[in-house]
């Protein structure tokens, strides 16, 4: 299976750095940015299959970033990292088109699982579009 290209967005540097390292160890192409603004800038230069997005960030917060990503690159799937499940922002995120959410502190295996599912869905969508 093609390994997806993943962008991680989180304002906590240690967290960000470690997640990216762990992804790369599993041969997943991963990049990390510290905030929504950088993410949007990066997305205009490169494309990613899956985005792991922390909802609680200073400056441009998670939901705004999600909207921007969906605007710029609607096929990119977004997995939200939230402090507690089914909080209003989590539900809102789903309504705005996020793929799923994971509760922090996250179980890495669970996170990986969701990344793969998200990547699959993206592939399916792209194929459908190509056929149409």
């Amino acid at each position: 299976m093609v390994k997806p290209k993943v962008l991680v967005i989180d304002d906590e540097p240690d967290f960000l750095e470690t997640v990216v390292k762990r992804l790369r160890k599993r041969q997943i192409e991963a990049a990390g940015v510290g905030g929504g603004k950088e993410a949007v800038r990066l997305l205009s230069e490169q494309s990613f299959d899956v985005v792991i997005l922390d909802l609680r960030m200073p400056g441009m917060d998670g939901l705004e970033t999600l909207k921007e990503i969906k605007k710029k690159s609607p096929l990119t799937e977004v997995i939200m990292l939230t402090g507690h499940g089914s909080v209003e922002s989590g539900i809102q995120g789903m309504q705005l088109g996020a793929f799923d959410y994971v509760i922090k502190p996250a179980d890495f295996e669970e996170l990986l699982e969701k990344v793969n599912q998200a990547a699959e869905r993206k592939m399916l969508h792209e194929e459908r579009l190509r056929k149409a």
Binding site: E12, D14, F15, T18, V19, K21, R22, K25, R56, G83, H84, V87, I103, K104, P105, A106, F108
Partner: protein, 555 residues
């Protein structure tokens, strides 16, 4: 405690004010009405007396006038020579007596005072009256009505004498008036049981026989009155009694008619009316007092209830806002803790990833590294559970209508207090009904109530004991129930009704607000349920919460 004193004072104030405002008009009106009535009545009585005195005086005057006129006619139509013949005189006398038996006797007296002819029951013929005052008065004035006197016959009588000058002769016709008739006229004015009437002359010598206090011809113990016209009615203190007297001087003789009516007797109806009025007013006052006491008690109780209700509402609002603040605080803390936890988890995961590399796997301390990494991950998860629980609690601060699984809610609540209970050697057992249906309610508020009751149970036991939590439902009653029973010291009977009162607490000062149960009570009430407590001193306590089984969220 000072609350109670304040209410007593308020009650007293209300009673006193009400009574003052109510009684003053009542008393004033009562008094004025009585006074009015009394005045009218007294006037009436005095008017009656005046009229009676007038009537009597008129009657007596008329009587005397008639006699005078009768005798005058006689004197001027008969001659001395005719009348001195006793047979003739007798016929005349009989004629006189035909119309009215007013005369006792009749006699002719000559210029020298000799009784020349006499018709009557006494032996008076030949008696000489030249030394008698009446004789001189008659000769001087032409006619004379005497006072009552004993005279030669030694019997009280009074005479009317008329003088006639016939040519160069003057002679007197003298008649004795029947005092019985006269007395009868006066006696008619003696009314009631203590009333009296009599006639006195200028020197207060009785001319008639009074009912009380004097004999005929004795002097009456009386103030002497100057002659006046008309009738006087006045209050007099006579012989120890208060009396109303009517006084009238006769026109034809200097005699004073006195009619005496005893004050008390004539005023009896008034006195009775006064007692009646007093009884009525007393009755009214009593009713007013009872009414005022009753009303004040009712009002103050209402006030008390309203104030307590408001205090409870205030306290519950404060509690709510405290809870909300607490919730925010908890959420903040949880989030702050979650972030480093997330980092730790990733870092340790990274170490774990690296440990799979061959070189490190061969190192001596690999087993230790491996174990340490696993343990770190485990305890991070443990910390995560705590923060998530905190976040769950904080999230539910907003009132909400949602499906609630009571069993789960209670389990979560127990989790909060698990450590505390364990530390105090208190075992919490659950007996949940497995088919307990979900109901629509407010889980945050319910959790608040369960926390409160569970906390109370733990505090009641103190150290070492058991708490049993049961859940169940009743199809017929359409309600679910949760019961929390502990084996603590229990609640004595006299306190059972007070435990839900706001600010009631058996804890030491500063420990607890006394608000927990009263707020729980009102929360459950608002959710449509009720809380029961059953307990006996020494045998623990059981709190049972009943909730309505609601399936429709739109209710």
């Amino acid at each position: 405690m000072e609350e109670i004193g304040g209410y007593k004072k308020l009650r007293r104030k209300i009673v006193i004010t009400t009574l003052c405002f109510a009684m003053i008009p009542l008393l004033v009106v009562g008094f004025e009405m009585y006074r009015g009535f009394a005045g009218v009545y007294e006037t009436r009585v005095m008017e009656d007396l005046r009229r009676m005195a007038e009537n009597r005086r008129y009657a007596i005057d008329l009587f005397l006038e008639e006699r005078l006129s009768q005798l005058s006619t006689l004197v001027y139509t008969q001659s001395f020579d005719q009348l001195k013949d006793e047979e003739y005189l007798n016929r005349v006398f009989t004629l006189l007596q035909m119309r009215s038996k007013s005369y006792v006797d009749v006699g002719i007296i000559d210029r020298e005072g000799n009784h020349v002819a006499y018709i009557g029951p006494y032996q008076l013929k030949g008696v000489n009256y030249s030394n008698e005052e009446w004789f001189h008065e008659t000769m001087r004035r032409g006619y004379y009505i005497s006072d009552v006197f004993a005279g030669f016959r030694n019997f009280p009588h009074f005479i009317i004498a008329i003088m006639r000058r016939e040519g160069d002769r003057s002679w007197i016709l003298r008649a004795t008036i029947d005092t019985d008739i006269f007395e009868a006229m006066v006696r008619a004015a003696q009314t009631g049981q203590k009333g009296d009437a009599f006639v006195v002359n200028r020197n207060n010598v009785l001319q008639t026989t009074p009912r009380f206090g004097g004999e005929l011809l004795s002097k009456m113990d009386y103030p002497v009155f100057q002659r006046f016209s008309g009738t006087i009615v006045e209050q007099r203190d006579l012989g120890g009694d208060k009396a109303l007297v009517g006084l009238a001087w006769l026109k034809n003789k200097e005699w004073l008619l006195v009619i005496k009516v005893e004050s008390f007797e004539s005023m009896m109806p008034l006195v009775r009316a006064r007692f009646f009025a007093i009884e009525l007013i007393a009755g009214g006052v009593l009713v007013m007092i009872i009414g005022a006491l009753f009303i004040s008690r009712v009002m103050v109780r209402q006030l008390e209830r309203a104030e307590k209700g408001k205090a409870l509402l205030d306290a519950s609002l404060i509690q709510s806002s405290k809870m909300a603040a607490l919730g925010k605080l908890a959420a903040g803390i949880a989030h702050e803790v979650n972030n480093p936890l997330a980092v730790i988890k990733e870092k340790v995961g990274w170490i774990s990833d690296l440990l799979t590399e061959e070189e490190i796997a061969k190192s001596e301390n690999f087993a230790e590294f491996d174990d340490a990494v696993r343990k770190i991950d485990y305890h991070v998860d443990r910390a995560k559970k705590v923060t998530h629980r905190l976040l769950g609690f904080a999230r539910r601060m907003e009132p909400v209508r949602e499906q609630v699984d009571l069993n789960r809610l209670i389990s979560e609540t127990i989790a909060f207090l698990e450590n505390e209970a364990h530390y105090r050697s208190i075992e919490i057992k659950t007996e949940f009904s497995q088919d307990l249906p979900a109901t629509v309610s407010d889980s945050s508020q319910l959790q608040q109530v369960f926390l409160n009751i569970l906390n109370n149970a733990i505090d009641a036991i103190g150290k070492s004991g058991e708490i049993i939590i049961k859940t169940g439902f009743s199809e017929s009653e359409r309600e679910l129930y949760v019961s929390v029973s502990d084996d603590g010291p229990g609640i004595p009977n006299e306190l059972k009704s007070k435990i839900f009162d706001p600010f009631f607490s058996t804890k030491e000062y500063g420990m607890g607000t006394g608000l927990g149960l009263s707020i729980s009570y009102s929360i459950i009430e608002k959710l449509g349920g009720r809380i029961n407590v059953s307990s006996e001193a020494g045998k623990g306590a059981a709190f049972t919460i009943y909730l309505p089984w609601i399936t429709d969220k739109t209710v």
